[in-house]
């Protein structure tokens, strides 16, 4: 089924878009991430211009993560207070990140920073997670579906810092600076790499703040709704790179996929879920590395602007 995308000004297969949507939605619901880091390269591969792919993704992720977050909400798997504190940090980070972006662009180091930085980010988070989750997978073969119970022996980040705050849902008493700081770092990444920040937030909430594993995905999705919503408005008004028809077809698949993913996550051991997410991050990192090193098909690229 052929669909013409009015903003991208190209025609593409609508059925393919729905299938891509289901895939990314499933990943989103399952792992508590937006899934943009998988989806954007796939859309570009399907012939959609990169700027339209990134811009439209942000809009589509709002619906997908809302769908996933509501599924978690029904099971009381979101720490709203933690989410809101992270969001405050994240917005501050995004504003600083935009300034950093401008500065990098002036110095001419932007391309290098984005490609190398994104690769290092995905690669390092993926490697750390794969190492940790593989160890816990081997160490304690726990029962299926034991969520909300698993807590680490280490102290959470910010337990001894000033400005302590209670997070009753997570049964944590930590400094408000810790989640704000994590949100800030995610926000900077959002501005520089154009991602939702879920795949940074999920391991940060779990490893650094020691949040109960059952609350991590829902809280991350809750945060990503707001960051991507804000990004979507910026993209639509400043760069005109949101294609509503493309968003519609992606959403058609992804909102259902997110529900399935959020339901399936209970049947998956948390260590295994982290292991699979880590594998996915590493696959994307390897693909990025390959693109950086392998001799490209054509050394030239072309962008055209029509007045």
């Amino acid at each position: 089924m052929s669909v013409y995308l009015p903003v991208a000004e190209i025609s593409t297969n609508g059925f393919l878009l729905v299938v891509l949507g289901v895939m990314s939605g499933f990943l989103s619901g399952l792992f508590g991430v937006g899934g943009g880091f998988v989806m954007t390269p796939l859309l570009v591969f399907a012939g959609i211009p990169t700027d339209i792919a990134v811009g439209t993704q942000s809009c589509q992720l709002v619906g997908t993560t809302l769908s996933g977050a509501l599924a978690h909400w029904q099971k009381r798997q979101i720490d709203i207070r933690m989410g809101l504190v992270v969001i405050i940090g994240s917005f501050t980070g995004t504003f600083c990140g935009v300034e950093l972006f401008k500065w990098l662009k002036q110095t001419g180091a932007l391309d290098l920073t984005i490609t190398l930085g994104y690769f290092l980010l995905l690669g390092s988070i993926g490697t750390m997670m794969i190492y940790e989750s593989w160890r816990s997978l081997k160490q304690k073969p726990t029962m299926l579906g034991v969520t909300g119970q698993e807590k680490s022996a280490h102290e959470p980040l910010g337990a001894n810092w000033p400005f302590l705050m209670d997070f009753p849902a997570s049964e944590l008493r930590i400094s408000v600076l810790a989640p704000i700081g994590i949100g800030f770092v995610c926000g900077v990444m959002v501005a520089i790499f154009g991602i939702g920040g879920g795949f940074i937030l999920v391991p940060a909430l779990f490893y650094l703040l020691r949040m109960p594993v059952g609350l991590v995905n829902g809280t991350s999705l809750f945060k990503v709704i707001f960051t991507t919503g804000f990004t979507a408005i910026l993209q639509a008004t400043m760069t005109h790179s949101v294609d509503a028809v493309l968003a519609f077809f992606l959403l058609l698949g992804s909102v259902g996929g997110a529900q399935l993913g959020a339901r399936y996550t209970e049947r998956l051991r948390p260590e295994l879920a982290r292991f699979l997410l880590a594998v996915l991050l590493l696959i994307v990192a390897i693909k990025l590395f390959y693109d950086l090193v392998a001799t490209p098909h054509s050394l030239f690229s072309l962008t055209m602007l029509f007045p």
């Binding site: 013409y4 009015p6 809009c59 050394l299 030239f300």
Partner: protein, 247 residues
């Protein structure tokens, strides 16, 4: 007397002009190509009649824009965009459809003067640009555009019927840019341009597609809110639906 002189003058002025209007009568199958939600590309038919036996070459070009060509190189072992070149007045689409390969019909200078091959397209560039670099990037621009089916040469794409009628099919792919196009029709015979005619046509978004594009460009805040609302309703709706199904 003066009248006669004027007539004579007119005769001498008019004589070298190759195009006598009656030699060539042509039209297009459509002056507006409509791009709707189901658009998968179109074929523009250029047809007409000629007074004398000749060959035809048709050039379709449009809309004009600015092209930035970037070249990747490998400074630290990784491929990055390092060098770039900007061309102005670049047609987004360019096709030459002819009844025979153009270089068999006319001399190279006529090909160049009338843009009858992709190598003859004239792009504007900044004053004092490096000519060697410009040639390299120009070649890359044409090659990239050809790879997307937006620049093409179709020798033998025009058909001549009984030396009097011609008909040519110009393929417009699904990714054809929106805008105003110019169609040039040339009658070529014995190495000369016998007659030519120029027409315009446009590729326009129609209906829903046009409304979406208009809103995205000119009403972007409203568009942003509407698109977000769509995302939220679809996300929320599916959560409700699955919740009900689960019960």
């Amino acid at each position: 007397m003066i009248r006669r002189w004027l007539l004579l003058l007119l005769f001498f002025c008019a004589a070298p002009l190759p195009a006598l209007a009656d030699d060539l009568v042509a039209d297009l199958s459509a002056h507006v190509i409509r791009v709707t939600t189901g658009f998968t590309g179109a074929t523009l038919i250029v047809f007409g009649s000629m007074d004398v036996p000749a060959d035809v070459a048709i050039v379709v070009e449009g809309p004009m824009g600015q092209a930035t060509v970037r070249q990747k190189s490998r400074p630290f072992g990784i491929w990055l965009n390092r060098d770039s070149f900007v061309f102005d007045n670049v047609p987004g689409y360019y096709a030459i459809v002819s009844s025979k390969p153009v270089n068999e019909l006319v001399a190279p200078y006529i090909v160049d003067a009338n843009g009858l091959s992709l190598d003859a397209i004239h792009f504007e560039m900044a004053d004092g640009a490096d000519a060697v670099k410009a040639a390299l990037f120009r070649k890359a621009l044409i090659e990239r555009r050809m790879a997307r089916g937006l620049y093409r040469e179709v020798p033998n794409g025009a058909h001549i019927l009984s030396n009097r009628l011609f008909r040519a099919a110009v393929p417009l792919p699904a990714n054809v840019p929106i805008g105003i196009y110019t169609v040039h029709i040339y009658l070529l015979h014995e190495g000369k341009v016998l007659a030519s005619q120029t027409m315009s046509m446009s590729v326009d978004e129609i209906g829903f597609s046009a409304a979406v594009h208009q809103a995205a460009e000119f009403n972007s805040f409203f568009y942003a809110i509407a698109t977000l609302a769509m995302a939220l309703i679809m996300g929320g709706g599916s959560a409700c639906l699955f919740h009900k199904l689960g019960e």
